[in-house]
Structure formats: C-alpha cells, structure tokens
Symmetry: C2
Subunit: 199 residues, 2 copies
C-alpha cells in the first residue's frame, strides 16, 4: 500500500512477527497501543527493554534470573537436597504455580535430539553434574516433557547420575503422554510430583 | 508467587493487558521476546514509542498521520470531489486494501450514541462541515458500520449535509448487517462501494 502511516505500519509488523498473532490481531494490538496513555506505552516499551537487559541465567540452576542467583536458588527456605530437572524456564514457572514443590530446579534449556543436532554438550548437563559434586543433593527428579525427546533425555541423565550415588526419579504419568508440561494444570502437575517413581 | 524474576513478570503483565491476550499467551509472547536478538527487541520497543510519539491526526481528514496531512490527503492523484466518511482509522485501512477507492476520507472517531453520551460534538463533524465549505466536494459517502449507531450517524449526517447541496450516499448492503466493517473482505467492501445508493 502506498498510502500508509509508517510508524503505524511498523508497529503492526512488529506485532505480526510474534508467534500466534495474525495480521488482523496485529492491527488490533497496534491500535490498542495508540489508544494507550503515553506513559503506559512507555512502560510497555521499557518492559521489553528491561527483560532483554536485565534477565540472564542463574549461575546455579541456569533458570532465568535478574541476578547472579535466581529467586529460587537465593531462597534459604528451599530444600537443597532435591533438584527437579526441567527443559525450560516455562516449566519452572508451572511447578512454582503448584506451590507444593519446595526443592531446587535445574533448567536444561533443551532436550536431547540427535535429529536436530542437539547433543549433551548443548544442554546444561555439565552444570548439573557440578551441582552434584558437593554431596548435598540426594534426589534428582526428571521432569522433562513426556515426549520421545523428554523420555530419552531423562533416561540418559538417569544413567549418568545413578553411578554418582544419587536417587533419580521420574514424574508420574499423571501428565498426559504426548502433552506439553507448560500447559498442565496445577493439580495434575502436583499429582505427577507425588506419584514419582525411581528410574 | 514469591519466587519471580521481576522483569519477566512485568513483561508478561504488559502482554496480558493487551486485548485478546490471556495469561498463557502473554507468557508465550514474553518468552518469545526473551529469545529475540537484542536489536530486534529494541526495534519492537522503539516501534511502540515511535507510534505514540509520531502519530497524530491529519488536520484535514482526522485520520491517523505522521505529518500535518495524512498520506491520502497529501496524495495529488486522489479524487478530491468525493469524501468517504468512516468511524475509525481501521476502516480507512480496510478501504485502502480494496485498492478501488480513489477519493478522500473523513474519520469521525466514533459514532453517535446517546446511551454512551456520545453526541455530535464528540465526533469530528465540525471538521467535516469545514471541508465542504470550499464547494469542491460533490459527494459524501456514508461508510459507517451497518449497526444501529452506524445507521443513526449516517442518517444524522445525511440530514445535515444535504441542505449544503452535496450528494450524500450510503454503502450498499453488500456488507452483512450487524457485522463489522473492519473485518470485511476486499471484494465485499468493493461491491458495497459500487452499489452505493443516494440517501
């Protein structure tokens, strides 16, 4: 289109690049931003910049963090004998919503997938092994998604960790097979935690 | 939740405030932003700021504009004898997508709605009347949505403009009654333009 207001077109394009946002939704969102008070729009823009600027990986669990250690690793009231191993930061958020898990986490940032060229060195497995060195950790819960890659990663890690004298468990199949952990409801996730079995 | 990474939570909240974006979609979008290269995220933030900073109303048609006059009013090739009156800037975009309409627009920024306290003085009717003063305009097309408020606004304007010696027409009912003009497809909109009838 020749007759376009460029800043508006650019904003629509930015929204349209987001996952799951089509052209008409992008237009609706852009007009919504135009209708916002100026300070609200500035807050929105600042939130995007801050998220990129301030968020990094926790030096311990590799979850997203706004400091050297993430809030969970900083929290003295957490049970340091248990580590829940997950694929992504979204999974940590899902477990935290159950309000039932009191241990620590370890975020792999991916799953083993030889087809996609993801081997053990692309995940944060080295960092996980380093955490087991102190002998404080007694149990590692494999909480990867119940998919082919999730199962394979859990089995691989279990074989790696068991010789180190640590108990390795797997989430119970309360979680629907083939589903996605991130979207499980709180109760299902809690049941899955409770019913975990040794690998 | 106590254990939260604040910049991430804030970004999720910002997305969740947008219309049609639920909590889980907001989370998905926030993580997408975190995964963006830094310069792409900065572009996104800048697009929001630019839209608020640079976009104002065209001094002629009241559509959104990045200058004193909008691209349509600036365009010498447009037919200045015809004005298409619409409710909102989104409607102008919909007509421009048909690539068939060559006249000018006038954006009312609302519809008459006594129930909601919107009277003629809340719309840009004064500005529309000023445009007719020069005698250049021969036809005004009422292209408000085919809803109760849209019809009422069209009738009100027709009664106001006819004594000024200007031809006042209404979009044909190619557009589904009760529907929303913004989401009409190009062909339907074009048919509606072609079949317009005098009020």
């Amino acid at each position: 289109m020749a007759n376009q207001v460029l800043p508006l077109v650019k904003l629509i394009e930015q929204f349209a690049r987001l996952p799951g946002i089509g052209r008409k939704s992008a237009q609706r969102l852009a007009f919504h931003v135009l209708d916002m008070p100026k300070e609200k729009a500035q807050e929105f823009a600042q939130a995007i910049l801050d998220a990129k600027e301030k968020i990094r990986r926790c030096s311990c669990c590799q979850d997203l963090s706004d400091g050297e250690l993430c809030p969970v690793c900083r929290d003295d009231s957490r049970d340091r004998t248990t580590i829940c191993v997950v694929e992504a930061p979204q999974d940590v958020m899902a477990f935290e919503r159950t309000k039932e898990y009191k241990g620590l986490y370890h975020v792999l940032h991916g799953l083993l997938s030889p087809m996609d060229g993801v081997g053990p060195e692309q995940l944060t497995i080295k960092e996980l092994l380093a955490r087991l060195g102190s002998g404080e950790v007694q149990e590692v819960i494999m909480a990867t998604n119940p998919t082919v890659e999730g199962e394979a990663t859990a089995m691989y890690l279990a074989r790696l960790l068991k010789p180190m004298g640590v108990k390795v468990t797997r989430l119970a199949y309360g979680i629907p097979v083939g589903g996605n952990l991130e979207f499980a409801d709180e109760v299902t996730l809690y049941r899955a935690l409770e019913g975990r079995s040794e690998l």
